[in-house]
Amino acid sequence: MAEFLIGLGLPGWVAWSIAALVAAVLLLNVIAGGALVFIWAERKIAARIQDRLGPTRTGGRFGWLQSLADGIKLLAKEDLMPEGADGLLFRLAPYVSFCASFCAFIALPFAFDVVGQRLNVGVFFVVAVLGLEVFGVILAGYASASKWSLFGAMREAAQVVSYEVPLGMCVVVPVMLAGTMDLVTIGEKQAGWMSSWYLFHDPFTFIIFWVYVTCAVASVNRAPFDLAEAESELVAGFHTEYSGLRWSFFFMAEYGSMFLVSGLAAVLFLGGWNGPVPVARLLGFSDGTGESAAYVVRLVGLANLVGKATLGVLFMMWIRWTLPRLRIDQVMTTCLKYCTPIAAVMFAGAMFWQLFLPGGLFPGWARPAGEIREGWLEGPGGLPVAASPAEDRSSTVTGGESVERAGLAKRSPR
């Protein structure tokens, strides 16, 4: 994008600023627009699960405009702050939450190379930044000068130390299989038929996906892990004292994070922007640069990823309105006593599977082309040699030179 603008004759700094601005505005719209749609969907799904109709009047038969009406109501609400509150922290907390959620979107790819900033350590960045969202919750709970809020914040603190560990271990498995932390490369490695998704790579990854789902739900504070909010126990938990636009920032952060962890799940386990059937590849198109058809392919990929992430969000809504809330000790038991050992065993299992059955149960059956490690190739004599980035990029994109599987797994242990 920036190169295109420079090509138009714009000076570099203007081009880069415009490119950054476009990406930022688009991502902001993903969060804000997504929140509008998802809040409406949540109302409808909750209603259907509880045998109600949900919003039916605002904006036609299905209440399409309900979220918009809610938004206008929130704008018009009085902005209150409790008397004993720490003013600075109270005002800052929603933005901290929202910024953390927003920043993590920067590294999430929506299709091949359709990513705010392609980072070499994309997975790590997303997980690290997503962990910062907790700051907003704890600050809000502390600064509100309310017992309910403080309880919510302390629960959140206890919850965060329990889910972070298994979440990190789940994320490591696709990283290990792909041999890179670059989300774009991880997604590209799952190109092909549905069977090349990491979800179906081996039984261990299938199980660890569900561990990831559990931890992801815990990380976005949704029922059954919504202890920080717990509206039937703590009034509204950490955001009891918030109203109006500040409150809506918390909600945008929550829905943004839901979309983000679902998108991350889609990229890590569900093939990213690759559909279940590689239509584009069967038709002979590729999503590499320099082809007009590539834009169409990428658009389809974008729809794929957004669809998968939306399905993930809907799944979270489904379990929210189905399962009862856990107690804090049950949360810690679930995350630390069950998820962590399961994740550890599955991690070891996936490792050994990769070691002994690198081609899967049916070798040569729908494995993705271009099995190539990022940044370096296996040289003669089993010694790794550094590959130039350009060479790596081109081979990853086209998948043309199907290099012999140069995995860590096949390397003799030293």
């Binding site: 295109f4 090509g7 138009l8 004759g9 714009l10 000076p11 700094w13 203007v14 880069w16 720490d86 600075l88 922290l89 800052l92 980072l119 070499n120 350590v121 790590f124 960045f125 997980v127 690290a128 930044v129 962990g131 910062l132 907790v134 700051f135 704890i138 600050l139 709970g141 502390y142 600064a143 403080l150 914040a153 302390m154 603190a157 965060v160 130390v161 972070e164 041999g179 890179t180 932390m181 320099g290 082809e291 007009s292 834009y295 490690r373 990022e374 940044g375 370096w376 790794p384 040699v385 550094a386 980035p389 390397r411 030293r414």
Partner: protein, 262 residues
């Protein structure tokens, strides 16, 4: 066939003379004094200024939670510096470890400030003096050390390709994939597996130690199995238990079993 992209560029470049406003705007933009600025330096100064400013904020604030928050911002700006330098991995590490670690600090701050004396920390003037002297001497030492390196004075060496994290990870498990500097002995090509393992084991020991210290204290109430054991007939052992109240004789072994856990 050339791509759509190239055709667009050609079209507009041929059109540019026809559309004077666009051309003049472009010329004006290029002629702005702002255009010649080294944006890398500007962003560096921005992040560095933020980091230093919030660091001063940590010292100047008197509320523990606010201090922790300023520390988070300061460390986050440092992560920004790393990202600016192209060290994505270190930057994400900084976010994960330091900023995430400060979270625990924040939680402790929240828990501590429930008590009145810690809500507002006002150090005495002697404390201020002492810390000022210590901080200033450390700062002067660091500054002299930093400015004594000639290579760090001038501008950067130019654009280098952002390194991937893979060589780092490979080196940690004992395989160096990067080119060693000339003159490195053969043994110099080994990775960092030993330090890595030592640190891992060290952390494991710390974890076990923390779990040991934080473990549930000895039970006051008898466990169900103890209650069951004491409900069992104990007549044969009773005399032995009275003879050996210290519980280390042959009969005492049985009684220790019966009263296990106390």
């Amino acid at each position: 066939m050339t791509g759509m992209l190239d055709m667009d560029i050609m079209d507009i470049s041929t059109l540019t003379p026809v559309v004077p406003p666009l051309a003049t705007t472009l010329a004006a933009l290029s002629a702005l004094p702002i255009a010649g600025i080294n944006w890398h330096s500007v962003l560096f100064l921005l992040f560095a200024g933020l980091a230093c400013g919030f660091a001063i904020g940590v010292v100047a604030a008197d509320n523990v939670v606010r201090m922790a928050l300023y520390l988070v911002f300061s460390l986050g700006s440092t992560a920004g510096l790393f990202f600016l330098a192209g060290a994505d991995f270190i930057g994400a590490m900084q976010l994960m470890i330091y900023v995430g670690g400060t979270l625990v600090l924040l939680v402790f701050g929240v828990m501590l400030t429930a008590q009145a004396p810690l809500v507002s920390i006002k150090p005495s003037s002697s404390d201020r003096m002492l810390t000022a002297v210590a901080g200033a001497s450390l700062l002067s030492l660091l500054l002299t050390a930093a400015f004594s390196v000639d290579a760090w004075r001038g501008p950067g060496v130019g654009v280098v390709p952002a390194p991937s994290a893979t060589p780092l990870g490979m080196a940690l498990v004992g395989v160096r994939v990067d080119e060693p500097p000339a003159g490195t002995p053969v043994g110099g090509r080994v990775g960092y597996m030993l330090p890595f393992e030592i640190v891992s084991v060290h952390l494991l020991v710390v974890l076990v130690g923390a779990a040991y210290l934080a473990r549930a204290k000895r039970r006051r109430t008898p466990r169900p199995i103890d209650a069951l054991a004491s409900a069992m007939p104990v007549e044969p052992v009773a005399p032995a238990a009275t003879v050996a109240p210290t519980g280390r004789s042959a009969g005492g072994a049985k009684s220790a079993l019966v009263g296990g856990g106390r």
